[in-house]
Structures are given as structure tokens and as C-alpha cells.
């Protein structure tokens, strides 16, 4: 959290920049290895396909499943989609951990606050 703990990552990025390494992005490869198979698409496109498949799955689950099982499945699918966007498209996979903390801290506070509100019996607020 402190500036000190962030310093090595910043220095690493600075060193990479100094040696021209920042131009070498793994996302620039034209193929992606997924579960041991090489796909002829860049990483970002493979993630996009994954997001599309998950969205179709969500709609199917919402239409087909009934009852209580639907809710946890849909929430899990939404969480996976959000994770894919944040991890790959927002570059938390490669960027400083400080950025992840900046996102996770308010998310944690919001979730805890929301749980307190939701467990309060109706009519008592």
C-alpha cells in the first residue's frame, strides 16, 4: 500500500522502459495458447469470444432454469465476465498491484455495507 512497497514495481517498469522493453507486449501475438491448443486469434479476441459465450449462457440460464438455482449461477457467470474484462482488458494481469487494491478496497467496503443493509429485516429502517 505504501509508496515504498510500490517502488520496486515502479522501478521495474521504469527499467523496462529504459531498455525499450515496454514496447514488447505479449498481447501483440497473433495466436493464443488456450488449454494447450494454439488458437489463430490474438488474446483480446479470445477473451471477447469467451465474453460472448458467457453472455449467451447467461441468457439461456435465465430463460431455462427456474427457482433459486438460477440466481447463484447467473451471479457466478457475471463475476467471471467482470473478472475477464478487468484482468485482461484493464490490464490488471500485468499492471501494478496498487491498481488492483484501488479497485478492491472500495468494492469490499461496498459489498460489506450492502450485506448489512440486505440482512436488515424490512420495516426496521
Amino acid at each position: 500500500m505504501s509508496e515504498q512497497s510500490h517502488a520496486p514495481e515502479m522501478a521495474e517498469a521504469a527499467n523496462a522502459a529504459a531498455h525499450g522493453e515496454h514496447a514488447a507486449h505479449p498481447e501483440h501475438a497473433e495466436t493464443t495458447v488456450l488449454f494447450g491448443r494454439e488458437l489463430p486469434y490474438p488474446l483480446y479476441t479470445v477473451v471477447f469470444f469467451g465474453l460472448g459465450i458467457l453472455t449467451i449462457s447467461e441468457v439461456l440460464v435465465a430463460e431455462v432454469f427456474g427457482g433459486g438455482i438460477r440466481v447463484p449461477i447467473l451471479l457466478a457467470l457475471a463475476a467471471v465476465k467482470a473478472y475477464l474484462v478487468i484482468y485482461y482488458y484493464m490490464h490488471l494481469k500485468t499492471d501494478s498491484r496498487m491498481f488492483a487494491i484501488a479497485l478492491l478496497l472500495p468494492l469490499f467496503v461496498a459489498l460489506v455495507s450492502m450485506m448489512f443493509v440486505l440482512i436488515t429485516p424490512p420495516g426496521s429502517y
Binding site: 515502479m10 517498469a13 521504469a14 527499467n15 523496462a16 522502459a17 529504459a18 525499450g20 515496454h22 514496447a23 507486449h25 498481447e27 501483440h28 490474438p42 483480446y44 479476441t45 477473451v47 471477447f48 465474453l51 460472448g52 453472455t55 447467461e58 441468457v59 440460464v61 435465465a62 430463460e63 438460477r70 440466481v71 447467473l74 451471479l75 457467470l77 457475471a78 465476465k81 467482470a82 474484462v85 478487468i86 485482461y88 482488458y89 484493464m90 490490464h91 499492471d95 501494478s96 496498487m98 491498481f99 484501488a102 479497485l103 478496497l105 472500495p106 468494492l107 467496503v109 461496498a110 459489498l111 455495507s113 450492502m114 443493509v117 440486505l118 424490512p122
Partner: protein, 211 residues
């Protein structure tokens, strides 16, 4: 797209790459802090809706019958596609392809505009059904669903409009030659905002339309 004119690069020559890398990280960190404040804002809307969903399941069930998920599923797919276009645009500028970046960002702005347009169509349909912002003029079966529905989706829609305007400004800077493979923080920072708007929609789509 062939008429795109890219001017000679105006990106300043970087004398100290370490300083540049530090500056870029600071820009991105500032954006993440801004997004952190947005997390709290959207959490209030989402919490409000979740509370209503628990306490008024009948009203939500009635509203879901009217809502339908065909149109919004297409809209969701468009926003996901716009996120992909955005990240592909960043990939192009990292490879020093300014024209490629402009094409991908143009697609991002177009998809964002379409998203807002379809949302307007959906709002019109819902108002005809009697789902209104004001509980007094809303059809009784929907109760206070209108306010809980319009508030988060409209607030998100405003973010998309701001994103489209921002995207066009980034494109203008790109066409002026202000970005290159060594200087693309402006594109990356906008990308963080746009993907965050996408993530919020992923949550809203599941919570409001599917559950």
C-alpha cells in the same frame, strides 16, 4: 475510413524513459482512484435495487414480464464488442499503427452511440407499458420499480455518452499525431474508463434483467 488524415507525430521526444514510465503509471493510478469512487456510486444504486428486489418480488416479476431480454441482450453484446474494439485500438497504437487505432476507436464510439440509442428505444417501450420514474403515475402492478430501474440504467447511460465524447476527443488527438508506440497513456486511460462502464453494465444486466 480511407479519408482519415494522420498528421506527423507531435508526440514530444522522450528524453528520460524512466520519468515517462513513472508519469504514465501516475496517470493510470489517478484513473483507478476515480474509478474507485465510481464503484461506491454504482454500489448505492445496485444496493437500492437489490433491496427493492428482495422486498417487492411481485413488482419485479411483473416488470420482468414487460421488460423482455431480446433488445437488452443485443445491447449488452454491442457494449462488450465496443470494449473489444477499444482494447484492439490500444493494441494498434502500441504497434505504432495510428490509422488502425483510429478505426478501432471509431467502431467503439459507434457501438457506444448505438447502445444509447437502443436504450432510448427501450425506455419508450417501458413508458408505454406504464413503467415510469414517478411512482404516482406508474401502473400499480409495477410499484416503485420504475425509479429503481431508470436511476441506475440512466446513470450508466450518461457514462456511455461521456465515454463516446471522450473517445472522439482521443481520436482527434490521435489524428493530430499526439500518440505513438512510446506515448499512449491518453488512449490507455480512456480505455480504463470505457471497460469500467462495460463491467458496470455486466452487473446491471444480470441483476436487473436476468435475476
Amino acid at each position: 475510413m480511407s479519408e482519415i488524415t494522420v498528421h506527423e507525430s507531435k508526440a514530444p521526444v522522450i528524453h528520460d524513459p524512466q520519468e515517462e514510465a513513472r508519469r504514465n503509471d501516475n496517470h493510470k493510478f489517478a484513473m483507478w482512484l476515480y474509478l474507485a469512487s465510481e464503484v461506491i456510486l454504482f454500489a448505492v444504486f445496485i444496493g437500492g435495487y437489490a433491496l427493492f428486489r428482495l422486498n417487492e418480488p411481485e413488482a419485479v416479476h411483473n416488470a420482468h414480464d414487460g421488460l423482455g431480454i431480446g433488445l437488452v441482450s443485443i445491447n449488452t453484446f454491442m457494449l462488450l464488442t465496443s470494449s473489444w474494439c477499444m482494447v484492439m485500438g490500444l493494441r494498434e497504437i502500441q504497434r505504432d499503427n495510428v490509422r488502425g487505432m483510429l478505426r478501432w476507436l471509431g467502431a467503439t464510439a459507434a457501438l457506444g452511440t448505438l447502445f444509447v440509442g437502443l436504450q432510448w428505444v427501450e425506455y419508450r417501450e417501458l413508458s408505454h407499458l406504464g413503467i415510469t420514474l414517478d411512482i404516482a403515475s406508474s401502473v400499480e402492478a409495477y410499484g416503485g420499480f420504475g425509479m429503481r430501474f431508470y436511476a441506475p440504467t440512466f446513470f450508466h447511460g450518461v457514462h456511455v455518452v461521456i465515454g463516446v465524447i471522450w473517445c472522439l476527443l482521443v481520436m482527434r488527438r490521435g489524428a493530430r499525431g499526439e500518440f505513438s508506440s512510446k506515448r499512449y497513456t491518453g488512449v490507455e486511460t480512456f480505455g480504463l474508463y470505457w471497460h469500467f462502464v462495460d463491467v458496470v453494465w455486466i452487473i446491471l444486466f444480470t441483476l436487473i434483467y436476468l435475476i
